[in-house]
């Protein structure tokens, strides 16, 4: 089966949703799928985090996107992530450097984070991927 590796460096709604849509769809299709959350992306893995904003360049679309999610036309990014996790093929990694940079501890992270890793570990895991994406 193919493999996809995605790096997410933003905690904004318009970055999380497409990243998790691809990651979870891949896992549902039987692919191996992994997502590495780094820099501001790591904020999305903190317990209780709810994305309320889109990127500043696209503020004009914020209400539309939020309405699509709240009405159920689009699933919330967390629902998408949780369904991906249920397949057992979606791995979520938190960036170790960002953890210390932002003062985030392991216990601050949601339970579906598989591991806290550094760049070399993620690269080693991602090196045989068929698709690799950086979402920022």
């Amino acid at each position: 089966m193919p493999k996809i590796s995605i790096i997410v460096s933003s905690e904004k709604l318009d970055k999380l949703l497409p990243a998790m849509t691809l990651a979870t769809t891949a896992a549902i299709m039987g692919w191996e799928s992994e997502v590495f959350f780094t820099f501001w992306g790591l904020l999305a893995l903190k317990k209780g985090y709810v994305p309320r904003e889109v990127s500043s360049d696209y503020k004009g679309y914020e209400d539309e996107l939020k309405r699509a999610v709240s009405s159920g036309v689009m699933p919330s990014w967390r629902e998408v992530l949780e369904q991906g996790k249920k397949t057992g093929r979606l791995k979520i990694y938190a960036c170790s450097t960002t953890m210390s940079l932002l003062g985030i501890k392991s216990e601050d992270l949601v339970e579906y984070v598989d591991n806290v890793v550094g760049a070399a570990t993620f690269l080693d895991s991602a090196k045989d991927s068929d698709i690799s994406l950086f979402i920022s």
Partner: protein, 74 residues
């Protein structure tokens, strides 16, 4: 065609229909037939791609009053 389960994913955009179908498939047994209702124009092709990837079968796709009826054998 005998349908064991109907999954209503009308008005949901991608990846909603596939997520709803995958959830239903996980609770079904091999040989059962699920009818997925979807209005997302990307759904028929998406479901076919998924099915060929995970060895399920799309038996038939019909469009009735702007609603796709996608029959999937688990």
């Amino acid at each position: 065609m005998k349908v064991d389960l109907v999954v209503d994913a009308r008005y949901k955009s991608c990846p909603g229909p596939l997520l709803a179908l995958a959830e239903a498939v996980a609770k079904s047994s091999p040989g059962q037939v699920i009818m997925l209702l979807a209005t997302d124009p990307a759904a028929p092709q998406d479901i076919k791609e998924w099915a060929s990837s995970v060895n399920h079968r799309v038996l038939k796709v019909e469009k009735i009053n702007e609603v796709y009826q996608i029959y999937v054998e688990v």
